[in-house]
Every structure is written in structure tokens, then in C-alpha cells.
Amino acid sequence: MLLNRINSKKAQTAEAMTWVVATIIILIFTFLFLFVVSIMSKSKVELSFFGSGFFEGEDAGVASQQMLFAILNSKSNSNEKEIKALIEEAQYEEVRQSVEEILGKFKEEIKCNFFVKDLNRGGYLVNINNGADGERVSLNIGQMEVGLECSQ
């Protein structure tokens, strides 16, 4: 009789433990859910605006565009020709050196990648990679695509 009583009490305790554990698990999931929602509410703007494809991101590359023009219109140190003209004349080594010098001068403040790509053959004639990660802008000069991508 006593054994039965003890066993049934053990069984009851075990059963009660199952419920307690189940309740704890439910509570944990509930709090996790609330936590996730509060994190999501902080990025509410991204969720409602970016999801609709309305704004692709904060930086539309306006700065990169002007910097690309600035590079192309600036003169190479060695022969006073504009970089744009050097590209047209296929002097790619000169272009690479000049642009590397320019980007090096501002590298503390701005990181940029620069390239000149042959649209016909698909290869890169100049490819300076400084690890920048931003909006890429490009334009065509003859059969070449010239591009810049900057991040701050």
C-alpha cells in the first residue's frame, strides 16, 4: 500500500514536472517572440519602405557620380592630359597610375574602386580595387565602360 502511494506520488510529481517544463518552454518562446518583434519594430522603415522596392538604399551614388566626373576631368600628373583623353587614347597604364595616385590621396576619408572595362571583349583594362562597397556608377567612353564605386 505504502509503495503504491509512494509510486503514485512519484508519478504525480513526474507529471507535474512535465507541465512545469512545458509552461516554461511556452513562456520562453513567448518572450523570444516579443523580443524579435521589438527588434523588428526598430527597422520598421526598412521593412515597409524598402520592401515595396521604392527606395533601394540610402546612397543613390550621387557623390560617386560627381567623383567619377572629377577623375575623368582631372589632369594626369605626368603629361597634363585629362584622364578622359588618356582612356580614349588607350593609355591605360598612365590612367591606372594617375587614378591610383588620386584615390591614394583621399584614402583616409573615402575608399573607391575604379575600373575601365572593354565592352567588346569584356576584359578589364584598369581595375583598382580598394575594398569599397557602395553604389557603382559608370559611363561609356567609346567602347570602354568606366566605373567608380565609393564608400566612406
Partner: protein
């Protein structure tokens, strides 16, 4: 038999408790999410900086007008900006924006000066403006590449950060 009925009652009570907890969780989640303000000032400040970049530069060069700047000119006029928030019905309408263009030791500003120092305040502080700084290099008058910094700040706290 009695204990079985008792078990059933306990079970029903337990389920009711769980339901109530889940309901409270769902309701709280919806209230948290929908009452969180839609803060667009980050994007707005970035767009304001972009507007200034488009105003200051043309084909990679700094426009002449920025070299001959004087008190008769204003950024609002030259860049076609309206830096007053008329959704405010009192004089705080003029305090919601700040913009600055800096290069070669020059500084051209417009709007509420008091916003800029608050830009670097900790994120956790309430009632601080949202700021944006963009740096780029452009050709100056002499064809030399120089660094320009564009700063913009937007306050508009009541419509973006107050719950």
C-alpha cells in the same frame, strides 16, 4: 474518479491560462510594432545631402558661385531648398533642418546651427536629430582635386521619434 474530474478541471484551467498568456503576447507584439514610429529621417538626411552635392557640383567641379559666396546668398536660394517644416505651426518650423558645405577652409551653412553638435550624441539619447555626412572629392577652380564635406541634420522629432 474525483481526482480524474479534478485533473480535467486543472487541465482546462491550465489551457485557459496558456491562452491568456498567448493572447497577451500577440496583443503586446502588435501594439509594440504598430506604435513604433516610422523614422524616415535617416533617408531624408541622406537625400538632403545628395541635393546639396548636386547643387555644389557640376561635371565633377565645384560651381563658381560657391567661391564667391557672400551674405546676399543663401543655400536655400541657390540650391532651391525649403528648409522650414511648416507642419509645425509655430516658430519651431525654422529649427528642423541644418545643412553645411565645407571645403578649403570655407564653410557655408543654412538652417538651425544648434542641431549639428547633437549629431554625435549617443544613439540611446532621446530627442537627437538624425544626421548625415557625405564626403567627396571635386575639382576646384585651379583644376586640383580637393575634399568637400556635406553635412545635413534633420530634427523633426515629434513626427519620427516620439511614441
Amino acid at each position: 474518479m474525483i481526482s480524474k474530474k479534478g485533473d480535467e478541471r486543472l487541465l482546462s484551467f491550465y489551457w485557459i491560462v496558456i491562452f491568456v498568456i498567448v493572447t497577451i503576447a500577440v496583443v503586446s507584439a502588435v501594439v509594440i510594432f504598430s506604435s513604433a514610429p516610422l523614422d524616415i529621417r535617416g533617408i531624408e538626411a541622406s537625400l538632403l545631402s545628395d541635393s546639396l552635392i548636386n547643387c555644389v557640383s557640376e561635371n565633377g567641379r565645384i560651381k563658381e558661385v560657391f567661391y564667391s559666396w557672400d551674405n546676399t546668398k543663401s543655400l536655400e536660394q541657390v540650391c532651391n531648398l525649403y528648409l522650414k517644416d511648416m507642419a509645425y505651426l509655430d516658430e519651431s518650423a525654422t529649427n528642423q533642418y541644418f545643412v553645411a558645405v565645407r571645403f578649403e577652409g570655407r564653410e557655408i551653412k543654412a538652417g538651425n546651427d544648434l542641431l549639428e553638435p547633437m549629431c554625435n550624441a549617443a544613439e540611446s539619447e532621446k530627442n537627437i536629430p538624425k544626421c548625415n555626412e557625405k564626403k567627396l572629392f571635386l575639382l576646384d577652380k585651379e583644376g586640383k582635386l580637393i575634399l568637400i564635406k556635406i553635412t545635413s541634420a534633420i530634427r523633426k522629432i515629434e513626427k519620427n521619434a516620439v511614441e
